[in-house]
Subunit: 214 residues, 2 copies
Amino acid sequence: MKLYGYFRSSAAFRVRIALNLKGISVDHAFRHLRKGEQSTPDYARLNPQKLVPALQLDNGEVLTQSLAIVEYLNEIAPEPPLLPADPVGRARARALALIPACEIHPIQNLRVLGYVREKYGQDEAGVAAWARHWIGTGFEAYESSVAGHSATGMFSHGDRPTLADIALVPQVFNAARFQVDMTRYPTIRRIHEACMKLRAFDLAQPSKQPDAEP
Amino acid sequence: MKLYGYFRSSAAFRVRIALNLKGISVDHAFRHLRKGEQSTPDYARLNPQKLVPALQLDNGEVLTQSLAIVEYLNEIAPEPPLLPADPVGRARARALALIPACEIHPIQNLRVLGYVREKYGQDEAGVAAWARHWIGTGFEAYESSVAGHSATGMFSHGDRPTLADIALVPQVFNAARFQVDMTRYPTIRRIHEACMKLRAFDLAQPSKQPDAEP
């Protein structure tokens, strides 16, 4: 399998964590998002959505959208499970994952920030304020969903990392880039720290990728 | 079970479709998003994310995030299946669903439009231009992912409605509200029309809800 990614892409980061947790090694290809390499004709043929990540299977088939890829990996390689065993637990882990994946990341990704910069004449401080606002809104939702909830454990759901943590950790990295005050989200911080002690999360972080830039 | 929704919420619309396809009837409660009824203390206790939909189970447990709720319904009531039988097909249906759910809807939902209006001084035309831009970007991605793909059938994946169609149809309704030119997306239009011939989709549409407004 071959993963098309970009070191700083949250969505590619999620897939890297899942691959590491599953112990699946893949070839890596990189598309430099700031240089627009996700929109070249050859890549658009591979992924018409012009986004990373894309996972190309050995038969040529291409999977897109990080959460769908992680669910696929969890189906073809069930151990260790990335979702709880019970339907209500699975619904909770998926719902938590969808907070960063739907409510935060798409609103503060490169192309939306570019639009805010160009169309609304925002400078870097204005763009960062936009990003911080939506990260804050989403993190408040996440924090209040995990803090004090009986199903929260060492990780977002129980004592093993799940899809929820896989979606959360890359968003915490983004928050750091935008200097979000994380003291407001003590449970997120605690879970993030627990995750980063795991080799699967640590090795997936942007600065440890071959295409990383300072 | 009790579904907290709002007639015009795309995310609640998705859950209504899934419930109808499964033949599951639930009690309905409404939170008027334009009046901010999703942020009242009683509702925030129920769903700290302050979003609709939320599905309260008979044991009091509350499920959030529409795609997680639909996956839950598909697990507790497997027939008719809302996902294909094979992992690659499931990955494709989930990835298609995530285009409206991640790449479009969160960027053009009420609270983001409100921010664009207030912070960037956009009038209704400006706000609509923002919404149309992101709906267009996402629909281009969806259209090019389904048009001519061998797995596309009468619906987005094969000849039965899946999670993909459940996410797509409410977004087409939103597109109509913002007067998006749908002639550019012939496959989406065809799939949408096929869906709307089904009672499950038809009865879930905003105008047929008890809380509908003109």
